[in-house]
C-alpha cells in the first residue's frame, strides 16, 4: 500500500487527535476520576498510534504506544492522575507534535527517539520503580522489533524473489578484500554482511538507504557497498542492497533492530562473515563463473539472477528518481480547508441555478434574433435580476467555504495558559467564548501569533501575584478571557484579564525616560495616547526580561500583524481592575457590500456592515460640544464628521440647509458622516492601493466600478 497519498489526511487527523488529547488531558486534570474523559483520551491515543503505525512512523508509534499504556493503566485505576503525570503527558504531546512537524516538512518522522520521555512513561507504569524499567523497555523494544522483523520475514518468504542473504554472493575485488582484512587483522573488529530489503512502495529508496547507513555508523564502519555507494545515492538499485561492515559489537539483534527502525524497510538479513569466505569466492570466480553461487545454499543461487534482473530495472528506477527527489525537497503539505458537505451542496445548487440562468439568457437572445422587434427588454431585465441574485448567493457560499471557526487557532491556548500559570507561579484560568466564530481561513491562520502575544502579555503583566491579589481583595486565581463575536462585517476578539491594569503614570514616565516625549508634553497626553506608546517598537514595560514577555517585541508586532490582516487593535484599561485588548478583523478579505456615496465629483464606498442608518439632518440641528459638531439623534449624541473637510475638498460656496448623514458605528462608538449624495448599494471587489501609497489610514483600498472608474473605500474604523 502506498501511504504517501494519505499523508495530508494523516497530518490533518493527527492534528485533531493531538488537540483532542490536549483538551481532554486538561479536563482530566480538573476531574481525575471522570471515566468518560479517560475513555476519550484512550480512544484518541489509540487512533494516533494506529495511524502512526500505518504510515510507518515507528518512533511516533512507539511513543504513542507507551502513552496509550499509561492511559490504559489510568483507566484501570492502577495509576493515579497527578499534575506530575499531566506534565509528562503534555511533554509527550509536544514530542508527538514535533514528529508531526518533521513529517510535514520532510514526509518522514526524523530520528528523534524521545527516549527520555518513553522512560518517564515507563517509570509511571512501574510505579516509579526506577532502574528495572530501562531494561524492560529495551527488551520490549527489541521484542517488538524482532516480532516485526519475523512478521515481515514471513511475507518476504512467500512473495519476494530477491532471495535472502544476498551479501554472501558478493564478489569482491582485491581492494575491498584488503579493507576487510585490515579491519579484522589490524583492528580486531568483527565483520558482518547485511542485505536490506526495502518495501516495494517506497518512494525515496536512497533516503531510506541513507538512514540505514546512518544507523549502522553507530555500530561500526561500512566497508563494502553493493551496489556502489554512488549508485545507492542515485537510487540506481532495485529493492535491496547489501553491505559488509565492521563492528566491535557482537549484538546482531540490536544492529538489526536499529536498521529495522528505519521506516519502509521490509526485512534485514544479517550474519557474521569472514574474509576467507570472500577470498574463496573471488578465487572461484576466476575458474568458473557460477561455482561461487553453487557453493552457497540453494536460496542464494537464486540471488545471482535476481541481481542481473536488477540491472535492467535500474533505468526505470532512476527515471522515477527526479520526481521523487523533488517531492522530498518542498514541504509536503498543501493548505486545505475542510468543508462541511452542506456548504458544498449549497454551492452546487447555486451553480446549477447559474447554468439555468445562462440558458435562459441564451434563449432570449436567440429568440430576439429571430423576431424583428429586437430585444425583449422585460425578460432581459428579469433574467439579469435573477442572475444578480444567484451571483450574490454564490459569492456568499464561496466565502462561507473559506470560513473556518477560530476554534482551530484558539483551542491551544488553555494549555498555554496552564503552562504559564505553573511557570509564573500565578494561579490563573482562561475563559473562552465564541470559539465557533468564523473567519476567513487565511485570517485564522495568521491570528494565532498575535493572540498568543496578547494572552502571554495578560498572564505575565496583567495578572498580579497571588499575594498582591489577596491584598487587593480579589480572588487569588486570576481570570484571563478571550471572547470572540461577529459585529457587522467585522469579527471582534477581546483578550483581557482582571489583573492590575495598565499604570499610565509608569508608561508616561518610561516614555519621558526614553525621550519619546518631553515631560511637559507628557502632562497633556490623553490616556489613549499614553497607552498607544505600548504599541511602539521596543517599548517594553516588563521590569525584567523573561522568556514569556518583556523583550519589547510584543505589542508592536501584534499591532502590525493585525493591521496586515486589515484589522486594528484597541486597549481599554482600568487601573486595578484589568485591561482588555480588542482586536477587530474584517470578516472577508475580497468582496463586500458597500454603500456608494458622492462627495463633490468623487465617489467613495462605505462598507455596509458598519452603517447603522442614513439621516437627513437640518443644519439647525447641529449643536456644538467642545467646539465640535454633534447631532442629537434618538437619545444619542453623535459627532459629525465632514467628509469633504477630512478628504481635503474645497468647501462649498453656499452650504445646503439639509445634510445627508450616514451614521456609522464601531463598537459603542457612532459617528455621522456628511456626504453630498447617495448613489446606492453595490457589491464591490476590494483592490489594494499598491504599496507606495499605502500609508493612508483613511482609505482601506479601492474598487473598480462598472464604468471602469476607480472609487476609494473609506475605512470607517480609522475615522473614529
Amino acid at each position: 500500500m502506498d501511504v504517501s497519498q494519505y499523508l495530508d489526511i494523516f497530518i490533518d487527523e493527527t492534528n485533531e487527535h493531538i488537540q483532542a488529547l490536549s483538551d481532554n488531558i486538561m479536563a482530566l486534570e480538573q476531574e481525575p476520576e471522570n471515566k468518560d474523559t479517560i475513555n476519550e483520551i484512550f480512544r484518541a491515543a489509540h487512533s494516533l498510534k494506529g495511524m502512526a503505525g500505518t504510515m510507518g512512523f515507528k518512533r511516533m508509534q512507539h511513543l504513542t504506544h507507551d502513552m496509550e499504556n499509561v492511559f490504559s493503566e489510568v483507566r484501570n485505576d492502577t495509576v493515579k492522575v497527578d499534575s506530575n503525570l499531566i506534565d509528562i503527558l503534555f511533554k509527550c504531546l509536544d514530542a508527538v507534535e514535533g514528529y508531526l512537524e518533521t513529517v510535514k516538512a520532510t514526509s518522514d518522522e526524523g530520528t528523534e527517539d524521545n527516549a527520555a520521555l518513553i522512560k518517564m512513561l515507563n517509570d509511571v507504569l512501574d510505579g516509579n520503580a526506577g532502574g528495572s524499567s530501562d531494561e524492560s523497555q529495551a527488551e520490549s523494544a527489541a521484542a517488538s522489533a524482532a516480532s516485526d522483523s519475523s512478521a515481515a520475514g514471513d511475507e518476504v518468504g512467500s512473495d519476494d524473489p530477491n532471495g535472502t542473504n544476498h551479501f554472501l554472493a558478493l564478489k569482491l575485488d582485491e581492494d575491498s578484500l584488503g579493507k576487510l582484512r585490515a579491519a579484522v587483522e589490524d583492528e580486531g573488529l568483527k565483520l558482518y554482511g547485511m542485505t536490506v530489503h526495502i518495501q516495494k512502495e517506497c518512494l525515496l529508496k536512497a533516503a531510506r538507504a541513507f538512514l540505514v547507513f546512518k544507523a549502522l555508523e553507530d555500530y561500526g564502519e561500512i566497508l563494502v557497498y553493493d551496489p556502489s555507494s554512488q549508485d545507492i545515492e542515485d537510487e540506481k538499485f532495485d529493492l535491496g542492497f547489501s553491505v559488509i561492515f565492521s563492528s566491535e559489537s557482537e549484538d546482531t539483534e540490536a544492529i538489526k533492530a536499529s536498521v529495522l527502525a528505519v521506516s519502509e524497510i521490509e526485512s534485514v538479513d544479517l550474519l557474521p562473515v569472514t574474509v576467507e569466505q570472500y577470498e574463496k569466492a573471488a578465487e572461484a570466480e576466476d575458474t568458473a563463473a557460477d561455482t561461487a553461487a553453487s557453493a552457497q545454499e540453494e536460496a542464494e543461487s537464486a540471488a545471482a539472477p535476481a541481481v542481473a534482473d536488477a540491472a535492467p530495472a535500474a533505468p526505470a528506477a532512476s527515471a522515477s528518481t527526479p520526481a521523487a527527489k523533488k517531492a522530498a525537497n518542498k514541504p509536503v503539505t498543501t493548505r486545505t480547508v475542510r468543508v462541511d458537505l452542506e456548504k458544498l451542496d449549497a454551492l452546487m445548487n447555486q451553480v446549477s441555478e447559474l447554468i439555468i440562468a445562462k440558458n435562459s439568457l441564451v434563449s432570449i437572445s436567440s429568440s430576439s434574433e429571430n423576431s424583428s422587434s429586437g430585444l425583449d427588454t422585460q425578460s432581459w431585465q428579469s433574467q439579469i435580476e435573477y442572475l444578480e441574485r444567484i451571483t450574490t448567493n454564490l459569492h456568499e457560499s464561496v466565502m462561507k467555504v473559506r470560513m473556518v471557526p477560530i476554534e482551530s487557532t484558539v483551542n491551544k491556548f488553555p494549555r498555554m495558559i496552564r503552562d504559564l500559570s505553573r511557570k509564573l507561579g500565578k494561579p490563573m484560568n482562561l475563559v473562552m467564548t465564541g470559539e465557533e466564530t468564523e473567519l476567513d481561513r487565511t485570517v485564522v491562520d495568521q491570528l494565532g501569533d498575535p493572540l498568543q502575544h496578547l494572552l502571554r502579555n495578560s498572564a505575565d503583566h496583567g495578572i498580579e501575584s497571588p499575594e498582591e491579589r489577596r491584598a487587593a481583595g480579589k480572588p487569588e486565581e486570576g481570570t484571563i478571557f478571550l471572547n470572540a463575536f461577529q459585529e457587522g462585517n467585522n469579527v471582534i476578539i477581546q483578550v483581557g484579564d482582571d489583573g492590575a491594569g495598565i499604570n499610565t503614570e509608569k508608561v508616561k514616565a518610561k516614555a519621558v525616560e526614553r525621550g519619546i516625549v518631553s515631560a511637559d508634553e507628557a502632562e497633556n497626553l490623553s490616556q489613549k495616547e499614553i497607552i498607544d506608546f505600548l504599541f511602539m517598537p521596543s517599548f517594553s514595560m516588563a521590569k525584567k526580561v523573561t522568556d514569556i514577555s518583556g523583550r519589547g517585541v510584543g505589542l508592536d508586532v501584534v499591532k502590525s500583524n493585525i493591521e496586515a490582516l486589515g484589522g486594528n487593535v484597541e486597549v481599554k484599561s482600568t487601573l486595578g481592575a484589568g485591561s482588555t485588548f480588542t482586536v477587530r478583523l474584517p470578516l472577508t478579505l475580497a468582496i463586500i457590500q458597500a454603500l456608494m456615496v458622492e462627495i463633490r465629483d468623487e465617489k467613495y464606498a462605505i462598507a455596509l456592515g458598519s452603517i447603522q442608518i442614513i439621516e437627513d439632518i437640518s443644519i439647525e440641528d447641529i449643536k456644538y460640544v467642545e467646539a465640535k459638531e454633534v447631532v442629537h439623534l434618538r437619545g444619542n449624541v453623535i459627532p459629525i464628521i465632514r467628509l469633504d473637510q477630512l478628504l481635503d475638498f474645497e468647501p462649498l460656496d453656499d452650504e445646503p440647509t439639509n445634510l445627508t448623514v450616514v451614521v456609522v458605528k464601531k463598537g459603542d462608538l457612532q459617528a455621522g458622516l456628511v456626504v453630498d449624495n447617495l448613489i446606492g448599494q453595490q457589491e464591490i471587489v476590494i483592490k489594494s492601493l499598491g504599496k507606495v501609497i499605502d500609508n493612508n489610514k483613511l482609505i482601506s483600498g479601492a474598487t473598480i466600478l462598472g464604468d471602469g472608474e476607480v472609487a476609494m473605500i473609506l475605512d470607517v474604523n480609522a475615522l473614529m
Binding site: 492601493l689 493612508n696 483613511l698 482609505i699 472608474e709
Partner: protein
C-alpha cells in the same frame, strides 16, 4: 578610464527616453511593463502630493506618480503627448509614472554613461545615477529605486 575603452563587448542596456519638463530622462526598459495614454486619474486623499492618484489598468488599481512634482518642478501640463509609464517593480508591484512625452528607445553601454557627478550635492541629482550620451544630446538615467522609494519629507 582606459580600461573602459577596451571593453568592446560590454553589456548594453536599452533605455526609454522620456521628456520631463525640458530635459530628457532614460528609464531602464527592463522594469517598464508598458506605456499607456493619459487617462482619468482618481485622487487618493492624504496621499503624498506627488501621487496624483490611481488609475484602472485593465482591472488593476495602479498608483500613478508625477515625475515633475517628485523632482520639484511645476505641476504637470496634460497634453496629447502625456503618457503614463507603467513600471513593474519587484518590491512595489505596478507603479505608473506620469511623463510629458515618450521620445524613443536608445541602447547605451556602460562606457557611454558618465557616472562621475552622481555624488553631487544638488537635490535633483539624487534620482539620477548617471548621464548617458546619445548622439549629441544628453539623457539623465533614472535610478528607479530612488525615485519610487524615497519618502518626501
Amino acid at each position: 578610464m582606459a580600461a573602459e575603452l577596451e571593453t568592446l563587448d560590454e553589456e548594453k542596456i536599452q533605455y526609454i527616453v522620456v521628456m520631463i519638463g525640458s530635459e530628457q530622462y532614460g528609464l531602464d526598459i527592463s522594469v517598464v511593463d508598458n506605456i499607456v495614454r493619459m487617462q482619468k486619474i482618481t485622487r487618493v486623499p492624504k496621499a503624498p502630493s506627488y501621487y496624483p492618484g490611481v488609475i484602472n489598468l485593465r482591472g488593476e488599481v495602479v498608483p500613478v506618480m508625477s515625475a515633475r512634482l517628485k523632482m520639484g518642478l511645476e505641476e504637470d501640463e496634460i497634453t496629447k503627448d502625456t503618457r503614463i509609464i507603467i513600471l513593474r517593480l519587484e518590491a512595489q508591484g505596478l507603479v505608473g509614472i506620469l511623463v510629458d512625452e515618450v521620445k524613443e528607445v536608445i541602447t547605451l553601454g556602460e562606457s557611454e554613461i558618465d557616472r562621475s557627478n552622481q555624488n553631487s550635492n544638488k537635490q535633483d541629482t539624487t534620482y539620477i545615477n548617471g548621464i548617458g550620451k546619445s548622439g549629441d544630446s544628453l539623457v539623465s538615467i533614472f535610478e528607479i529605486n530612488a525615485i519610487i522609494d524615497e519618502v518626501e519629507v
